[in-house]
């Protein structure tokens, strides 16, 4: 064993031990035990330590993998708009409470976090694992919007935008459910999201839907919903993070009650689409219990968008196909 390796091994031991006893002191010890500057002594070239495990690394998290060429396209884009949030009347002690059953999601929920206009990180803080095709689509959409000519999408045409966009908007939705089904009723776009938990007894209607087909099952108290078969490609966010019609969304939905009187739904969405992403990746959203928002404002986009004279683009342009 080389002197370097012995040294680094001892440094790791010291750092770990000190870290358990006292993080601050551990860091200091780790720093004292760090190798001298200029790298290891010459001689047999040692294998580089794994990321985060080198001498002096202490308890630091491993560095993220380097960006791919496709991801660099995303990081070079101008940043997305920061969305605001209209304040909602607070839920009080007089308002109905969420049912005690952790599998009972019924009631009114509201996405009380600012809208992510562009999904820039996955739930672990990593860059979305786009393919070159995915990066180019997002870049094309962002640049077109920056030039004042955003592309037409489902939302602009008053069509159902798919489950991810539909949930993300900061408008209340109601959940109703039975043993073999769950339905979301949204204020925005007067949308619906239908989930069958038992296609044999409670089949989804036939046809290819804008919202896709969603089949769910329970894993413990988490409802796992797989959505596939979309009638057209989806925009997963305002800036156009894409999902092709053959893409798949897996939504893990659970009700979280931290005992502070503010239960929320947590929905982790796994995005799978080999055309646009090198591997499945995850985002997470939370939706606050808001039983004091049961009356929805009317959303009648058809009044404007349905104008048969066709002059409804509002400045949006048709996107050229991939």
């Amino acid at each position: 064993m080389t002197a370097y390796r012995k040294h680094s091994s001892r440094a790791r031991m010291l750092a770990l031990t000190a870290g358990i006893l006292n993080l601050g002191a551990g860091v200091a010890v780790a720093q004292m035990a760090a190798p001298p500057p200029g790298g290891p002594p010459s001689g047999n070239a040692p294998a580089p330590p794994p990321p985060g495990r080198g001498p002096g690394a202490g308890l630091a998290p491993p560095p993220l993998p380097p960006l791919t060429e496709a991801q660099k396209i995303l990081t070079a884009l101008p940043p997305p708009m920061k969305a605001g949030l209209f304040p909602q009347p607070p839920v009080t002690a007089d308002d109905p409470v969420s049912p005690a059953d952790p599998r009972d999601f019924q009631g009114i929920w509201y996405h009380d976090q600012p809208l992510e206009v562009r999904i820039q990180k996955d739930m672990y803080g990593a860059e979305p694992p786009v393919t070159m095709a995915g990066a180019n689509v997002i870049a094309r959409r962002v640049r077109s919007a920056e030039a004042g000519k955003p592309f037409i999408n489902a939302s602009a045409k008053c069509l159902p935008p798919g489950p991810q966009w539909q949930r993300d908007l900061n408008f209340p939705f109601q959940i109703v459910q039975g043993k073999t089904w769950v339905a979301f009723i949204f204020e925005e776009y007067h949308g619906r999201w239908n989930i069958s938990l038992d296609p044999k007894t409670t089949p989804l209607p036939g046809g290819t839907d804008f919202m896709g087909r969603s089949i769910g099952h329970w894993e413990g108290d988490t409802l796992v919903v797989e959505s596939t078969g979309f009638k057209q490609a989806l925009w997963l966010d305002v800036d156009g993070t894409p999902l092709s019609p053959n893409g798949r969304l897996v939504q893990r939905i659970r009700k979280v009650n931290l005992g502070d009187g503010k239960p929320f739904l947590e929905i982790i969405t796994t995005i799978e689409d080999p055309q646009y992403y090198t591997n499945p990746w995850n985002i997470v959203r939370r939706f606050a219990w808001h039983p004091n928002l049961p009356v929805f404002k009317e959303y009648n986009c058809e009044e404007q968008v349905g104008d048969p004279s066709g002059v409804t683009d509002a400045g949006l342009v048709v996107e050229t196909a991939d």
Partner: protein, 252 residues
């Protein structure tokens, strides 16, 4: 009149024609009793309209069961609608047909397709198969402000009178029709008495009060038959159907 509880239905069974205050939780198989106890001395009861419904006799018109007496302004507006209809200029008087705009209140209650009713958290929600349209009745008894902008469905508040739900709708946009031809002004007030005639029959007695167009209130009764319970309607996207049909007609 304030009820001393919160009405919170948990589940519906899939068995049609059960009308009582016992609902079965699908999950645990327990029977969950949901009762709202009126304050002492109150005679009010609450009916359970939840389920799937459809008009017993489809009709595009609100068939009047009382005389319809138009004012001069009302006669003019109706004549104009008829003229535009004869010329197929639908977008000039009926943007539901031309644009899939919400038929609003009361016209949504004339839908030939199915609808579901939910009674949750103090609000009655009508969940329509046609275009996934929605209308709601706020039963919470809170004071309301006039809407900043009128809506096709206006703003509806309701209360119980015996076993009937009495709903009042105001602030209805004048871009809707009462049915497929009858006009209304922005001053229209719609009163509905909704009740179960029997376990499988729902009735909506609709009264139109619009002194600008009608010399006296008038109305009709619409009857609905309970349908087999289903949690899902097919996804109905009116604009997509309209545009698909238009493309087919153009041969594209």
């Amino acid at each position: 009149m304030i009820l001393t509880c919160i009405m919170q239905r948990v589940f519906r069974t899939n068995i049609p024609a059960i009308h009582n205050w016992f609902v079965t939780t699908g999950m645990a198989g327990m029977v969950l009793l949901t009762i709202c106890t009126p304050a002492h001395g109150q005679a009010t009861t609450i009916s359970d309209f939840e389920g799937v419904w459809k008009m017993a006799k489809p009709s595009n018109s609100l068939e009047a069961s009382t005389p319809v007496v138009l004012t001069a302004e009302g006669r003019k507006a109706l004549a104009e609608n008829k003229r535009l209809r004869s010329q197929h200029k639908y977008d000039d008087y009926d943007i539901t047909i031309s644009r899939c705009s919400s038929p609003g209140v009361p016209r949504l209650m004339l839908t030939p397709m199915r609808f579901r009713i939910w009674q949750r958290l103090g609000v009655v929600t009508f969940d329509f198969e046609w275009n996934r349209a929605l209308r709601q009745i706020d039963m919470r008894g809170r004071p309301t402000e006039p809407l900043l902008a009128p809506q096709m469905t206006g703003q509806t508040t309701g209360r119980w009178e015996g076993d009937a739900l009495v709903a009042e709708t105001v602030d209805v946009s004048d871009r809707t029709l009462i049915d497929d031809i009858m006009p209304h002004s922005s001053d229209m007030r719609v009163t509905e008495r909704i009740r179960l005639v029997d376990a499988d029959t729902l009735e909506d007695r609709i009264t139109i009060d619009d002194p600008i167009y009608y010399a006296k209130p008038w109305g009709g009764v619409v009857t609905y038959t309970r349908q087999p319970a289903t949690p899902f309607f097919p996804e109905h996207v009116c604009l997509d159907r309209r545009d698909t049909a238009a493309r087919a007609m153009r041969g594209k």
